[in-house]
């Protein structure tokens, strides 16, 4: 063996991992943008051949978008839809996370109430809308309730499963230091469950979106869901796609927001996993 502890001229930095280098150097948003651009381009190209009463293409949608902006119709509908959406979703998060934590932590609650959460998630809610109308009327409230009911369950269930996946050894740290039940919940279970809660919140967004649209279809027609229905009924396909795509874009943005929130409230998570969050 030869020893060589003298400092040599610094060698060039070598970055070689298993993956090809360009995948790590090109930022994610560039790839995403490219991918969306290509998809949009293909749609534009092939979409133009389709009967406009049945299908449409991006530039027609953009045109419809601007004309709906000008009349203010889109903004009004967006405001109309977003109020029950926001209220329903936020209440679902505020109620769903603690309920999920409790269900996961206490066997007795799980045995007594878990079945309703499982059953509630799988209930064809759409069939129960008339009952909801009976209790909550036709306006803001029933829509917020439908959004709440649809987004509550994925948030609650994911949290619940997350708690059950917390390793015993971690909880034992709390037990060993005589942490109270509340302290274990807040100081150990909650942070350890954050990835699951965040997954639940993201899944919840998708469900909340479906919720608001269903509510606007099945109760008094209004908001973005109302535009979808009215446009579909008069074969203004491009117009119909404006709210559909707007909803998609907003949902994707909200999902990204939750991802950002996760990095903010649980910065250690992405460090441990070595991934950026979505």
């Amino acid at each position: 063996m030869t020893t060589d502890t003298e400092i040599q001229a610094p060698a060039r930095v070598e970055r070689r991992t298993g993956q090809a280098s360009w995948t790590t150097t090109v930022p994610a948003w560039v790839i995403t943008t490219l991918s969306v651009a290509v998809a949009t381009g293909l749609w534009e190209f092939f979409g133009r051949d389709v009967n406009p009463l049945l299908g449409t293409y991006p530039s027609a949608i953009i045109k419809a978008f601007f004309s709906m902006l000008q009349t203010g119709r889109l903004q009004d509908a967006l405001i109309q839809s977003s109020q029950p959406f926001i209220v329903g979703y936020i209440v679902a998060a505020i109620v769903g996370i603690p309920v999920g934590l409790l269900l996961g932590r206490y066997r007795i609650l799980e045995s007594a109430l878990g079945i309703y959460v499982t059953a509630g998630y799988a209930t064809p809610l759409i069939a129960l809308v008339p009952l909801l109308i009976l209790w909550f009327g036709l306006g803001f409230m029933v829509k917020a309730v439908v959004v709440f009911l649809l987004s509550f369950f994925p948030i609650c269930i994911n949290t619940w499963f997350g708690v059950k996946a917390v390793p015993k050894t971690m909880i034992e740290v709390g037990t060993a230091f005589c942490a109270s039940q509340t302290a274990i919940m807040r100081g150990i279970i909650l942070p350890a469950t954050i990835p699951y809660i965040m997954a639940g919140l993201r899944l919840g967004i998708g469900k909340a979106v479906i919720g608001i649209v269903i509510a606007e279809f099945l109760t008094a027609i209004s908001g973005l869901g109302g535009i979808i229905i009215t446009s579909a009924n008069s074969f203004r396909t491009a117009e119909m796609f404006v709210p559909v795509i707007l909803i998609m874009v907003l949902a994707v943005a909200l999902t990204a927001l939750v991802g950002w929130l996760e990095k903010y409230v649980a910065p250690w998570q992405s460090e441990i996993t070595g991934h950026d969050s979505v």
């Binding site: 008339p130 279809f217 099945l218 074969f235």
Partner: protein, 301 residues
Amino acid sequence: QEAWRHGIVEAKGDSGFLFQAAEGGFDDKHGINIDMVQFTGGPTALKALIAGDLDSFEASPVIALSALHQGADVKIIGCDWPGMTYTVFSGKDIASAADLKGKTVGVSAPGSLPDIFTRLALEASGLANTDVTFANAGGSADRVKAVGGGVVAAAASSSEFAIDADALNVKPLLKGVEVTPQFLKVCIMTTGKKIAERREAMTNFLAAEMEGLAHAIANKDAMLEVARKVGHLPEDDKTAEFIYNEALEYKAINADLAIPLEKLQWVDDEMVKLKFLDGNADTKKFVDDSVRTEALARVKK
């Protein structure tokens, strides 16, 4: 001003008539404020009516009949659109109703207006119910698309879709006003409880409706304007005009809201025949004509 919540199902080109009372200022004139609430489905709206969230609701009586047969506290208080402006559309390759034999016909939910109308229209054209397969092909526009797309051979929908018939690759095969003249398309309904509680406002509401409809019938431009505004229709839209012409041509619309009792009974009998309803009923007891009579007097004054 007293608020009045009135429910309707999927207004399209016909909104120039339906919204005239609310949009044309006739409600203000009678000291009420009509709040038009739109629904995609009749049964949900009817339940909202029964639950008390709506004050009145207009739709095909077909929706209400099964509830009425089960003793629901629903009353028909006027019929603004007795004429059956409904059409069975078919693919271009279908020459006559007979060609539909063995094919699939699109309807919406069993027992709903399109379903019953299609069955009766086919029957009137000599096709038995067993000669075709019925399938749910969605809402009124979706059913027409399904015909154009070849998913079903024919489907019933509001006649206004005839305007886009070529583009949609469909053709009007059977017109309701011709094959089922007895069919009653739209009536206004409320509950007995509401009549007792808000008789005065209801009278004003019916009065406003009567004046609104009369105004729309007399002023094509007013009708088209409201239709454009409510339906967010583009300038080149032809549906509203089509509906206007059709309604006048077939006298499908009735500004004094008279309730054609014999037509109502006919619909009920046919539904019993089709086994959508059990047992016969005297449809007179579903009707309360008194509010309309008072409203008529108020309008004449």
